[in-house]
């Protein structure tokens, strides 16, 4: 038997509803219908009056979750797609994110963002917003790349007292399978060495971890040992693990699926060069999506995001310094 990434998300929510009476789910079409991606399938039946269909009012959905959190609940809000959180932006960054600092009352809400590109989804159903939310003080931003992380990080995220932006990658939903949901369980804020190596470090997260591993496998055929670091959470960022990896390899490539200006890859490189400049044997490199909206046609989409090929190319350049 195998579990998929989306199974893990569903299982985590089931466990949370079972174990913690403060948890409830709120989102469009998540009750009877089980959600656009079926991440809440069956939960409304199992937990009557704990799973609610929301109106198409993302801003109010978050505002309402904040209010419920003030009164002691732990809401999990599903955005139908990460892209639609743009209309909830204000409540997320100004209400939820500032509340603890301003008042001392924590806001333990979890916002599930079905993120990232899939072929044929286009500019408004493909966005990766982790680098936007991570800019804001007061938010924790999680980007699980494995089935077990999808499970444990949702459990851990809901247990945190802070508002959590949980970026789940749609491409991984059904494509990514594991034998068990119970893999290696690291605390939030700690990165993982997904694949050890010694010639260069690829620091990445979410779906790009798998593309990076593929690239590493290809380069292994030429004798290169590429280390792949999975950030797991982009805020907080585990600089220690990144620096330790760069110390081993001397070379850094940061890979992300988001737009190329700023974002996670820039933050990784700025932090590493500030604190670990002497560890670097070559200029640190970045690989992101292109600087256009995510295109609709699969042929364009495939050329818009980093791929094993483009990661290999970037690594070869990095290794040639």
């Amino acid at each position: 038997m195998s579990v998929t990434y989306i199974d893990a998300i569903r299982e985590a929510q089931e466990k949370l509803l079972r174990d913690d009476p403060r948890v409830f789910l709120y989102g469009q079409d998540i009750a009877g219908f089980g959600g656009a991606f079926k991440a809440t399938k069956g939960l409304a039946d199992q937990f009557p009056n704990r799973v609610f269909d929301a109106p198409i009012s993302e801003d109010a959905m978050i505002g309402m979750a904040v209010g419920a959190a003030i009164e002691g609940m732990r809401p999990i809000v599903e955005m139908q797609f990460a892209d639609f959180s743009s209309v909830a932006f204000n409540q997320i960054i100004n209400q939820a994110a500032t509340h603890f600092y301003r008042t001392g009352i924590p806001i333990p809400i979890t916002v599930r963002l079905p993120s990232g590109g899939t072929p044929g989804s286009g500019p408004f159903h493909s966005q990766s917003m982790e680098g936007i939310y991570a800019q804001y003080p007061g938010l924790v931003v999680l980007t699980p790349a494995t089935v077990s992380d999808a499970y444990h990080m949702l459990l851990d995220g809901v247990a945190l007292d802070d508002p959590v932006i949980y970026c789940e990658h749609k491409f991984l939903y059904r494509w990514l399978k594991a034998k068990s949901i119970n893999g290696d369980h690291l605390p939030i804020g700690q990165a993982r060495i997904t694949r050890p190596g010694k010639h260069a470090s690829v620091v990445t997260y979410s779906a790009m971890v798998h593309e990076a591993v593929r690239a590493a496998e290809r380069l292994a055929q030429d004798g290169w040992e590429i280390e792949v670091v999975d950030l797991r959470s982009v805020k907080p960022l585990d600089l220690d693990t990144i620096l330790a990896s760069v110390a081993r390899t001397g070379r850094l490539l940061a890979v992300g699926e988001a737009f190329p200006w700023g974002g996670v890859t820039a933050e990784v490189i700025a932090r590493v060069t500030e604190e670990g400049f002497h560890l670097l044997d070559a200029p640190p490199q970045r690989l992101n999506a292109r600087d256009t909206p995510v295109p609709y046609h699969p042929k364009l989409w495939a050329a818009h995001r980093p791929t094993p090929e483009s990661i290999c190319e970037a690594l070869r350049k990095l290794l040639s310094f």
């Binding site: 219908f33 198409i56 797609f81 639609f84 408004f124 256009t292 909206p293 042929k299």
Partner: protein
């Protein structure tokens, strides 16, 4: 509307055959309303911001079939050149904006197009229209957009297709008023209700709303009651729609109603309708065939820039058509 139905049936079977790029969202059951709006508008003068279930309105407004098939079949010659898809397609320069997915967001855009015409002194006789679902009335964008249009007294027509569901979510989880039309008064705009499965009724009510807007009566809202006769998209079987609802009054097929109305009122004979049908099937086939043999987008020929300006600039620019 017949054209739209036949075209969409074709898209549906192409989807099932795995030939479509992206998703397929149909307007089945909503053609009477959408077509009534499209035919009430004048291409070249009016603005029309179609939404996902407006194939019939698009066709009636004058969108060529080939724009549709090119987009669904991934031809690079389509209006969006592979950059955006299917239901998002538009031709803003021809008065038909290209929607973004975020529901409600087109309402202020149409208002702005009209506002521009007022400033340019060419608003008279013009209207702008958009359709929207029951679910989208819950968005802040809808509220702000209509309110802004009402303040500016713009000739905006918003047709709310209340198909009783937003994806799987029933009206009871979407709003608490008895009928959505009660919102019109709260915005200080005109309001009309109509049975959206009835073509003649829809055409007369919607054209009246368009007329009022055109004549300076400010924004108008039409709420059409009907039922989506397909899933939310073709990936969805719509099993949350109970048989009760399906077999109720709004479960009837507006196309069948329309045919009957056309025949009964002597607008067309059954033979004529069958002939139209055959013609349309052929047109659709042609448009599909043409799009299928056209090139798909090529990443190597993409310019991969989202900006109209080509930086770096060697000197400060001066506006191109400032006077």
């Amino acid at each position: 509307m017949l054209r739209a139905r036949i075209l969409e049936n074709k898209l549906s079977s192409l989807y099932k055959a795995g030939k479509i790029v992206g998703g397929v969202y149909l307007g089945r059951g909503q053609e009477a309303v959408s077509a009534s709006l499209g035919t009430s508008l004048i291409q070249g003068t009016d603005f029309f911001a179609p939404l996902i279930r407006d194939q019939a309105g698009r066709t009636a407004f004058g969108e060529p079939l080939i724009d549709c098939t090119r987009t669904y079949l991934g031809s690079v010659l389509g209006p969006m050149r592979g950059r955006d898809g299917n239901i998002h397609r538009g031709r803003p320069s021809m008065g038909m904006p290209a929607m973004i997915s975020h529901l409600g967001a087109q309402v202020p855009v149409v208002a702005g197009m009209l506002f521009a015409k007022r400033l340019q002194g060419t608003l008279a006789g013009r209207v702008g229209a958009t359709c929207i679902g029951d679910g989208a009335t819950s968005t802040g964008a809808f509220h702000e957009g209509i309110n802004l249009a009402a303040i500016e007294k713009l000739p905006l027509v918003v047709v709310v297709a209340n198909n009783q569901f937003a994806y799987s979510t029933p009206n009871s989880r979407q709003f608490a008023c008895v009928d959505l039309i009660e919102k019109a008064r709260g915005y200080g705009i005109g309001g009309f209700s109509v049975d959206g499965t009835d073509l003649l009724a829809s055409a007369s009510v919607i054209s009246e709303a368009v007329r009022r807007a055109r004549e300076g009566g400010g924004p108008q809202m039409v709420v059409a009651r009907l039922l989506r006769l397909s899933g939310h998209g073709e990936h969805d079987d719509g099993s949350y729609v109970t048989t009760d609802i399906r077999s109720g009054h709004y479960g009837r097929d507006c196309i069948e109603v329309a045919m009957r109305q056309l025949v009964e009122n002597g607008f067309a004979s059954v033979d004529e309708i069958i002939k139209w049908q055959e013609q349309i099937v052929e047109e659709v086939q042609r448009a599909v065939a043409q799009a299928q043999q056209e090139p798909v987008p090529d990443p190597y020929h993409e310019d991969w820039t989202a900006l109209a300006t080509r930086f770096p600039l060697s000197q400060p620019i001066t506006p191109s058509n400032a006077q």
